[in-house]
């Protein structure tokens, strides 16, 4: 009895026909039933010239339920963890008048979208009529530069698909007269679509009328209007203001940056040294240095591909040359690699013309410097304080110097092993001394620069640079310690040892020298990789006010 009932109930449980017993209350209606609730939240006409669509958020009506986030997720069919809208919290006020203001936020469909300018493959389009900034998913190759460029943390990288996706104001819905998901789902009618005058948006941005504690609107001219009848207290801060979390480190970028800078540095240091060499030392030095520098350069470019979500479309990067520093970087380093290959091919021929080599070498150096400059500008463009021109340029240039010299030391040692000629040993003694001194100077300067940065810990304000410093002292302190250790070891201690005369048999000295040089190089390289790790992880990314995080 029980068994047969059990079987019946188990079968019933899997039977979904029960729903059909109910009337399907809905007719095959094409007019959305929800329209009556959202009609007044939509504009009644298209934007005129000099106007565009924009979100309008009535802060007085936002109660913090966050239904908009889930509705956007659901009505747009986003993946499990994917959300295009966020709700942050501003807190402040006094004991008698505390203030708690939830803030719903998505893409601001800016007048000057940083995502669009940054994109190397033109995967962003700003609709000339509606002003909606739309992302072309199939065009994206997953470089994530827009994620770094947007001050509002809007584009979201989807690692499974290898592309970025973002809010498009439900442009399909809007064009059919339907409300965007967030608009139709807000129980309190706090989100509306309105038409804004571009001139007004610019004026507001200039006067910084946007939202307390939000990133400065002058950068991109966000079009969202946050309106309120309240007078906010001056001490309004985001609920996540004090939470400091390391950012994604982006390992392929770390390797790419450090090795391209090594390569460029090695070419330049080698080129300079080359000027002072002659005869057998020159012919011994040049091919080894060139091949070494080239190998690291190619390795760097290889590593950079791993950063792309869809590397098969890397060629599209040429599209953004007119506006994207990333495009320019890719093209510059592409040219650098090509020129360097050519240079190597010519240099390896025993009867090459010095004149030709000088010209080619100059081109390689120029393209390399251009590449490094573009690398610097990629980060400067994001307007993050930790990635300011001063910070970034100092680090990148000094990395070139430190690793360029360190790599040259390897060459010197290698050619010393190859040929037992007196000239090689003499070269090692003479040039080596200068190189060691230069390395100590560059490395010490760089380390000092990085250590001095920690002065921001003393700042009273929880400003972006203090956040970076706090991370270096807190969550990233191990990396910081390792970085300083490696830097001091490879950049100061080892070169000092090289400056000391080594006693003993020649062969023995060679081995010991080799160990020192090898360690010097590895320590310098590790130190620079760690420095770059911290460069990415410790940056304070601007974002809209966030909710409490624990």
């Amino acid at each position: 009895m029980t068994t047969s009932l059990l079987e019946r109930l188990l079968a019933d449980q899997q039977d979904l026909s029960a729903v059909e017993r109910f009337a399907q209350a809905h007719e095959n209606g094409s007019i959305p039933a929800q329209a009556k609730h959202y009609q007044r939240l939509l504009p009644t006409s298209l934007p005129a010239v000099g106007q565009q669509y924009a979100f309008e958020v009535d802060l007085d009506r936002c109660s913090g339920c966050k239904a908009c986030v889930t509705a956007c997720h659901s009505l747009n069919g986003l993946d499990d963890t994917e959300t295009w809208r966020d709700v942050g919290l501003l807190i402040g006020g006094t004991a008698t008048k505390p203030v708690m203001q939830h803030v719903t936020t998505a893409c601001h469909h800016c007048l000057e979208p940083a995502c669009m300018t940054a994109c190397p493959v033109n995967a962003y389009e700003k609709n000339p009529l509606t002003g909606i900034v739309k992302h072309l998913d199939d065009q994206c190759f997953g470089c994530q530069y827009c994620v770094l460029a947007c001050p509002y943390d809007v584009p979201k990288y989807h690692s499974g698909k290898g592309i970025v996706r973002k809010c498009d104001m439900c442009s399909d819905r809007l064009s059919a007269g339907e409300a965007p998901a967030c608009v139709q789902s807000c129980p309190n009618e706090a989100i509306a679509i309105r038409i804004v005058d571009i001139r007004q948006v610019i004026e507001d941005s200039e006067a910084a009328v946007f939202l307390p504690a939000a990133p400065e609107p002058q950068i991109t001219h966000p079009t969202t209007t946050y309106k309120t009848n309240r007078v906010f207290p001056r001490n309004l801060l985001p609920a996540d203001y004090h939470s400091v979390n390391p950012q994604q480190p982006h390992w392929p970028l770390i390797v790419m940056l450090v090795l391209t800078q090594l390569s460029v540095g090695a070419f330049i240091v080698g080129g300079i040294l080359d000027l002072f060499l002659e005869g057998p030392s020159q012919s011994a030095f040049r091919p080894v240095q060139t091949i070494g520098a080239l190998a690291f350069g190619l390795l760097a470019l290889g590593a950079s591909v791993f950063h792309l979500g869809r590397p098969q479309y890397a060629f599209r990067a040429v599209l953004g040359l007119r506006h994207s520093w990333l495009s320019r970087e890719i093209v510059s380093f592409g040219g650098f690699a090509a020129a360097a290959c050519l240079f190597a091919a010519v240099a390896l021929k025993s009867d090459c013309s010095t004149q030709l080599l000088r010209v080619l070498g100059g081109a390689v150096a120029l393209l390399g410097v251009a590449g490094v400059f573009c690398s610097i500008m990629i980060y400067v463009f994001t307007q993050r304080e930790f990635w300011s021109f001063g910070q970034t340029a100092t680090k990148f240039v000094l990395t070139s110097a430190v690793l360029g010299i360190a790599a040259t030391w390897i060459t010197l040692w290698l050619i010393g092993t190859d040929s037992n000629s007196g000239s090689s040993r003499e070269l090692m003694d003479r040039a080596g001394r200068d190189l060691a001194r230069a390395l100590i100077a560059a490395a010490a300067m760089k380390l000092a620069f990085e250590v001095i940065f920690l002065r921001h810990l003393l700042g009273h304000r929880h400003a972006p640079l203090k956040r970076s410093a706090l991370l270096m002292r807190g969550a990233l302190s191990n990396q910081m310690l390792a970085r300083l250790t490696c830097g001091a070891l490879g950049g100061v201690v080892m070169p000092l040892m090289l400056l000391q005369p080594l006693d003993g048999a020649d062969a023995d000295v060679r081995v010991r020298q080799g160990a020192i040089v090898g360690l010097l190089f590895l320590a310098c390289l590790a130190g620079e990789l760690l420095e770059r790790y911290i460069f990415f992880a410790a940056v304070a990314a601007p974002r809209m006010p966030g909710a409490l995080r624990t």
Binding site: V19, R21, F22, I91, M100, R173
Partner: protein, 769 residues
């Protein structure tokens, strides 16, 4: 060719773009993701809170693929909170219970088949009953399953299996309101309809953070176009307080004194409705005398409020035409909750603010079917809101069910805290827990764990095998979830709504209804439930059980009618012989009321059945009680009840100088989070780890910085939390959301003496950096 190359270089569309393509979904839905375009749509009522929102479930081949809130439903007007939007997501979690699990000799839960599970269930519980008597096995039910399942469980356990003690987790949220209403009105009857939010001139919210706890009810307030005064009485500056026009941040648990003081001001100034009091109430004179001692000075001292704020509130109540009073857990979860709720009811009664649009003394319920539980769980009250101790009530239930009246216990049995104490004292050895998670939610958690571990046999029936309670069970029965079964729920405003099976339960999980039927068969009392073979059949039985009671809904034809009408509020009676329906109760068979008090027909609708009825004769979609001023006591009058306030059950001391407040943290978290933490999107909407709100002045004294870790410790336990500095909590008070498991390690097992509801809201703690 050239276009191919061009698109290779700049590809405007393709497979990735198509993934997010929208197209008209039909069924009045507007655009939906193409991949989830439904071939059919049906409605169901949400299974989280008591608001009772309706959701359109989008189906492909009968299986739910998505949902949107129902635009036309009178409750939610096309809106839902994040939990509702994500209601389907949590069904697919990896920790769903898919097979019965039995603890083996080595102490591990291992899968067994249903037959073994049922045999073990019966033999172990029977053995305990044989050894220790019928009272030694109890059950703990829930406010989260359909009424039909509750009725079957309560009937099976008490009349079939001979259990005497059974209660529900509704004790943790609603018991106070139940007792307050029963004593004041004569029946547990929240009088309002949600339209009252929109029609009120003054909305007074007591211990109720609607913006977070009931976002869709806040929606209704946001749609009030009468420029209402919104008063929030809450120690914390909550989201709702932020939206108020008057916030009274009173000292915790001083609300009783506040309302007595307000009453005194109203009486003293003659700001009361003497005619209403005269015609419809009892005990006013004594009450008026009683409140004399609550002078403004006394009340200002007790509540630590500005006297002007108290006077302003009294004046608001007087000046506004339609004043509605609303309360939730801030009142219910208190050691003096019943009297506090009644003090609120008293204000409504004495000002005649009840039975009119935009008025009422209105308890907002917690769980989706707490209201069903109150009527049909057969725990504290006998089926249909009856009294176990009343012989006439027992007789009529026995008659309707066709059972021997001697099978019906003559008393209600233990309440939840009494069951826990019974286990502690060794009186109860076996416990059947259905769809609730006491190991997380019960007050003074460490003691609760100790209590549960004393059981000889603990059965947990749940949709997840991972709940804190299921992990302690000897036997886990895998249950189908909301969305995988049918039945009805009753929301806060007494609206009956239908839930439907729109998704397949995983593995061998069965609806609670089916599990109860299997247990009945295995126990050997299957015959008693021959008529109970489907939720729809049980609905018919419940209609019979409701007949003649204030909750009479015998006029409802079937589930289809409920759906067509956008839910139907009780009462909605069928009058025998006439084939007509009454928006009230039909007759008064069991002496609950005197003759003058029934039936309470606001309007009549005549006709043979819904399908042939003129739509204008259907019940009005928004109805409130007591429009005629007649209450359910034998004399038809409401009662004024009062009692001296008591001091905080655990006042702050030198050692534990802070008062810990608890409550909901966000609209994306539900209770012990067994469901809501299974949605990745919901998880993004609240802080991952516990946090404690601390006043900046206190923090400075203790040297606590923002975001620093702190230990919050009471006499009973401790938790680690991040400090969240905010003036929203007063000095000397801290707040911890209840959803984090450790929160109830701190709380103190103190109860309201009448409702036995735990006092979760205030205990003494200290903070250690």
């Amino acid at each position: 060719m050239s276009t191919d190359i061009a698109s290779l270089l700049h590809q405007r569309t393709g497979p990735l773009t198509r993934e997010l393509l929208l197209e008209p979904g039909g069924f009045g839905l507007g655009r939906v993701p193409t991949v989830r375009k439904p071939d059919a749509v049906t409605t169901t009522v949400c299974g989280y809170c008591s608001t009772g929102c309706s959701l359109d479930v989008h189906l492909q081949n009968g299986q739910a693929v998505s949902l949107t809130p129902t635009s036309a439903y009178p409750v939610n007007l096309g809106m839902a909170c994040p939990k509702g939007w994500e209601a389907l997501t949590v069904l697919g979690a990896e920790d769903r219970a898919t097979k019965p699990l039995l603890r083996n000799a080595s102490g591990r839960l291992e899968p067994v088949d249903w037959s073994t599970a049922l045999e073990t269930f019966v033999s172990r519980f029977r053995r305990i009953q044989t050894q220790h008597g019928n009272e030694s096995v109890a059950f703990l039910s829930t406010g989260q399953i359909p009424t039909e399942e509750m009725a079957l469980l309560g009937t099976l356990a008490k009349f079939g299996m001979g259990m005497v003690h059974g209660d529900g987790n509704t004790r943790q949220c609603m018991a106070t309101s139940v007792v307050a209403y029963k004593q004041a009105f004569g029946f547990d009857a929240p009088p309002y309809t949600y339209a009252d939010f929109e029609e009120s001139d003054a909305i007074i919210l007591v211990g109720s953070n609607l913006c977070i706890a009931h976002p869709i009810l806040w929606e209704r307030i946001a749609r009030n176009h009468r420029n209402p005064e919104i008063v929030v009485i809450d120690p914390r500056m909550t989201e709702t307080a932020m939206q108020s026009t008057q916030h009274l941040p009173l000292y915790p648990k001083s609300d009783l004194a506040l309302f007595y003081g307000i009453a005194r001001i109203l009486i003293e100034n003659g700001w009361i409705d003497r005619d209403y009091i005269e015609a419809h109430t009892n005990g006013f004179k004594a009450y008026a005398e009683y409140v004399q001692k609550y002078t403004l000075d006394v009340v200002a001292r007790e509540t630590r409020l500005e006297p002007q704020a108290i006077e302003r509130l009294a004046r608001t109540i007087h000046e506004r035409e339609r004043v509605s009073f609303w309360w939730t857990m801030g009142v219910n979860q208190s050691y003096q909750g019943v009297r506090t709720a009644q003090a609120i009811i008293n204000l409504a009664l004495m000002t005649g603010n009840i039975g009119r649009p935009g008025t009422g003394a209105n308890s907002i319920t917690g769980q989706c079917n707490a209201m069903g539980s109150r009527l049909f769980s057969n725990t504290a009250s006998l089926l249909g809101g009856r009294d176990f101790a009343n012989e006439a009530h027992r007789n009529s239930v026995a008659e309707i069910l066709g059972i021997d009246v001697r099978q019906i216990p003559t008393h209600a049995g233990f309440t939840y805290p009494e069951i826990m104490e019974g286990i502690l004292r060794g009186k109860i050895k076996g416990l059947w827990v259905i769809c609730t998670n006491p190991a997380h939610s019960w007050i003074n958690q460490k003691q609760c764990h100790d209590i549960l571990d004393r059981l000889d046999f603990l059965v947990v029936q749940d949709m997840y095998h991972s709940t804190e309670t299921a992990r302690r069970a000897h036997l886990v029965l895998p249950a189908a979830a909301w969305g995988e079964k049918e039945g009805t729920l009753i929301n806060s405003e007494r609206r009956i709504g239908v839930v439907k099976k729109v998704s397949r339960a995983p593995g061998q999980a069965l609806s609670d209804f089916s599990i109860f039927r299997l247990v009945a068969e295995a126990w050997g009392c299957g015959k008693m439930f021959a008529r109970w073979d489907s939720p729809a059949a049980v609905f018919e039985i419940m209609k019979e059980l409701s007949r003649g009671m204030p909750c009479d809904f015998s006029g409802i034809e079937d589930y289809r009618m409920i759906e067509q009408q956008g839910g139907i509020q009780w009462p909605y009676a069928r009058v025998e012989g006439l084939g007509s329906r009454v928006e009230g109760q039909a007759g008064n068979k069991e002496g609950l009321l005197n003759d003058s008090a029934s039936p309470r027909a606001s309007s009549l609708s005549l006709g043979p059945g819904p399908s042939s009825l003129d739509p204008s004769l259907f019940p009005r979609q928004e109805r409130r009680l007591f429009e005629d001023g007649r209450y359910y006591h034998a004399d038809g009058r409401a009662r004024f009840l009062s009692e001296d306030p008591r001091p905080l059950s655990e006042a702050p001391s030198e050692k534990y100088p802070f008062i810990l407040l608890t409550g909901r943290g966000s609209a994306s978290q539900w209770h012990t989070q067994t469901r809501t933490k299974k949605s990745a999107v919901l998880r993004r909407l609240y802080p991952e780890h516990p946090y404690v709100e601390v006043n900046p002045v206190d923090a400075q004294k203790l040297g606590l910085g923002p975001q620093s870790w702190v230990t919050v410790e009471s006499q009973r336990g401790r938790l680690r939390a991040r400090v969240f500095l905010t003036h929203a909590v007063k000095q000397g008070q801290v707040f911890v959301p209840m959803h984090y498991e450790a929160a109830n390690q701190l709380t103190d097992a103190v109860f309201d003496p009448y409702s036995k509801q735990p006092s979760y809201k205030a205990c003494a703690v200290r903070l250690e950096p």
